[in-house]
Subunit: 370 residues, 2 copies
């Protein structure tokens, strides 16, 4: 009961809402691959369960789980979290899930982008990705939501952020990467974003967070708090390779306007001290040919920007960083005075290559279909 | 979002509605095991698709499909049928699915019986049955329906029929079989039915259809058309082993009353001429140790009683039997004057050991939860 539509959201007057708009629920996928998550993924599962529980204080959560892990996940999660069977290749619902769009009547549809593991055979992170690429459709089947096909256009949900009013932010590093839509020009890619997100303006910053294996997803470096207001990952340490990246984004955004002609207000959030994989952590991961290894000394792309906006709340990652955890919390409280700000310790998730925003996908409320 | 309840439907005043009451939707499971369905299950899949399509003219249908068959099923089914991922060991939703119960407010819950492949290690039909036994829970998770645990009580949905007003019909052959609840007395089994279906009276007929591998499920030999009215599989051929079985049931039912004290009106429907597996049909099935083989010359338990009552319709099996197909249709039209009677050719399904009622499970309408 999910029809495939051959038009586009723009033609049908559906738009992607901002994450800060009202949700029906949050979707996640249960982690289990032992070549990405150490110690049989048991620690990651505990973290995912904690994050799902934190979000479910504010909105319903549905967890997609493979048949092999179904009973275990059902037991590890509280019973008010819905668990549905869903095969995957890993657990990044932001990137493999549907991008929901909505119209003025409150009808909900979704864009089902093509997914190729963040770069396919060029620089993708694992092979195969066949089950991941079916996730968006499976979510929409369960929810009776019709989907737009994108004619092979490759995109992950983490590589876009919209303000819900016609402006989108992306990084050149990701959207112009060789492993995605390299047969298209920048203008053609922008055209696709405009058609499928129903936006009018794309703001291109250069790069994402230093050493981000997703080719610099925007959702790890900056996001909209609301129309006209942006949060940006920052560092004061000019020797940190992150400094020039953040500085360049800051300068660009400072001189930009959104589609409504507004100047952007920019809030900086300092990144944590570098998160580096330990020997013990590295040794807990299975070595499998074709999967990005997790090696001792690797710096992970940790950033507080990778939070999830739930109904009435911000769920953000903690790194056990005495100084910057606290600063991030204060900044988030200041920028979101009407939301409860909840930190969840997330080292196990950044060890797998992402964070809270990467493992979640919001479904807008829309009207009840009954 | 499906809580496990430790009480019983009787205690909470939920009852199993008759199949003829209003449905929200019909659940099915996609067939694929090649040791039960010939020629790679391709012919059975076509039949299941035809039956799902026929039902979906009258009520929504959701098809549970393994990850391996997801794309194929999605393509073979019309897009107004919902397809959700669901691992199984075979495709008998009547027997492995939840038994939904409802209360006066229209709230819906379900009973999640223990399933052991129609007899477990005593005379079960295949091993293992671990995925089948999770189906009821998975359906209820998707639908946000709370479930009653039955403390290990084994039952298949096809072994019971209720009138929705307090009466249930079962067969002794099945409910007293060695492979199910042989540690319980007949009275204790009756007590379980009363608690979990919220009924007051159990009518026990002796046997199901001749050679029925389910140990004689009641849903192949008789069912309620409405309270006080029963349809019974019949044969006029006194030499057919089915004759004495049907005659015994007829005599017993003629002398019975339901819980309201009503005499039962009994409508006979003649069975088709014997359906016997051909050499070609037998050779199309993979031989696997531990699975009931499909051998040339085996007589299948074909019966027109194995129909599904949809909203406003009866979907019943055709066997390409010139005489009895027609008689069955006429009888069903006479007994259900307000429903459209739709026949679907179902030889491929009876070759696998059941029929339309066995592969479907109704979910009552209840109130919208929004």
């Amino acid at each position: 009961m999910s029809k495939r539509l051959d038009t586009t959201p723009k033609k049908d007057e559906f738009r992607m809402p901002g994450e800060f708009e009202q949700h029906k629920q949050c979707w996640m996928i249960w982690p289990e691959r032992t070549d990405n998550w150490r110690l049989g993924a048991k620690l990651a599962q505990k973290s995912f369960a904690e994050i799902a529980s934190a979000i479910s204080e504010f909105e319903p959560v549905t967890m997609g789980v493979s048949k092999e892990q179904f009973s275990n996940a059902r037991q590890m999660l509280p019973d008010y979290i819905r668990v549905v069977e869903m095969a995957s290749n890993d657990s990044w619902m932001r990137d493999v899930g549907p991008t929901f769009v909505i119209n003025d009547k409150g009808e909900v549809r979704a864009v089902d982008w093509k997914f190729n593991s963040w770069g396919g055979l060029v620089d993708g992170l694992y092979f195969p990705w066949d089950q991941d690429d079916k996730i968006a459709q499976k979510v929409c089947e369960i929810e009776n939501v019709d989907t737009y096909r994108t004619d092979g256009f490759i995109l992950e949900g983490g590589s876009i952020h919209v303000d819900g009013e016609g402006t989108c932010i992306v990084t050149e590093e990701c959207l112009l990467s060789k492993g995605r839509n390299s047969h298209l020009t920048k203008e053609e890619i922008e055209e696709k974003l405009k058609e499928y997100l129903n936006i009018e303006k794309v703001i291109w910053i250069k790069n994402g967070i230093y050493n981000d294996e997703t080719n610099g997803h925007v959702d790890n470096i900056c996001c909209f708090a609301r129309p006209g207001e942006i949060l940006l990952a920052w560092t004061d340490d000019e020797k940190d390779p992150q400094y020039n990246i953040s500085k360049s984004a800051y300068d660009l955004l400072t001189n930009e306007t959104d589609v409504k002609g507004r100047k952007l207000e920019i809030h900086k959030i300092h990144i944590p001290n570098p998160i580096v994989i330990t020997k013990e952590e590295s040794e807990g991961v299975d070595a499998i040919d074709g999967t990005l290894p997790r090696e001792e000394g690797d710096r992970q792309a940790a950033s507080y920007i990778n939070f999830y906006i739930a109904n009435g709340a911000i769920i953000f990652p903690l790194f056990n960083d005495e100084k910057y955890d606290k600063l991030a919390e204060e900044k988030l409280k200041e920028v979101f005075p009407d939301r409860k700000v909840v930190g969840v310790y997330a080292r196990e998730i950044i060890l797998g290559g992402g964070n809270i925003h990467c493992i979640t996908q919001q479904q807008p409320l829309g009207k009840s279909i009954g």
